[in-house]
Assembly symmetry: C2
Homo-oligomer: 127 residues x 2
């Protein structure tokens, strides 16, 4: 089969706790990331944990986006998977880093749908 | 910070097209996987694409699960992320392989929340 798509994982550190503990801020970051990747949101689920932390997952016409926050550590784990050739999941991840105010990030992209593909990054970036 | 959790990606091949094009079958596979990983489903979003293909994403108390199917290729891309020490995301992935009738799979686990962690598998398995 052709490549199913690109799956990016990003680690964000140094995010302001107040921002990433606010469901509305995290949702706005998700929407900005989806716009940056030229993807389409079909539906979403969100949850605010007690005493802190937010998860939001978005079902995309092109696959999915997830954002999980640990305000107590200024840390966010996110992933963006876009099927086909036209999505820009790396752009989505970097937009998350920008909007959520990360001072440091690590990004890794893998191609899904290829035998052996999980083990090889097609893009790696940190900043 | 301590490890945020383990994030598993699994590729499934050889899945019967009829099974993986049926939203109910895919949802039941998700529920079985969540049970296998001892996780808790908080909410979910699902979509059936035209002419074929299903996406379901589940928001877990422990992070998320996603399943994307390509019936025309007998292929499924899934991921399971469980935060903390007690989730068993590998068990969830292997349960998906079993329930969806994959003839071949590849699984890779990474630890989230560690600098440099995206580049190193903590578990890799195929079968």
């Amino acid at each position: 089969m052709p490549t199913a798509g690109r799956h990016c994982m990003i680690e964000l550190w140094g995010c302001p706790a107040r921002a990433i503990d606010d469901p509305q801020t995290v949702r706005e970051a998700m929407l900005a990331a989806i716009a940056a990747s030229k993807s389409t949101l079909l539906s979403e689920c969100a949850h605010r944990f007690a005493p802190q932390g937010v998860t939001i997952v978005g079902l995309l016409a092109e696959s999915h986006i997830s954002i999980h926050t640990w305000p107590e550590h200024g840390y966010v784990a996110a992933d963006v998977f876009t099927c086909g050739e036209h999505g820009e999941p790396e752009a989505a991840c970097l937009e998350l880093a920008r909007v959520l105010g990360a001072t440091r990030h690590e990004l890794r992209t893998i191609e899904r749908g290829h035998p052996g593909g999980l083990a090889h990054a097609v893009a790696e970036r940190s900043g």
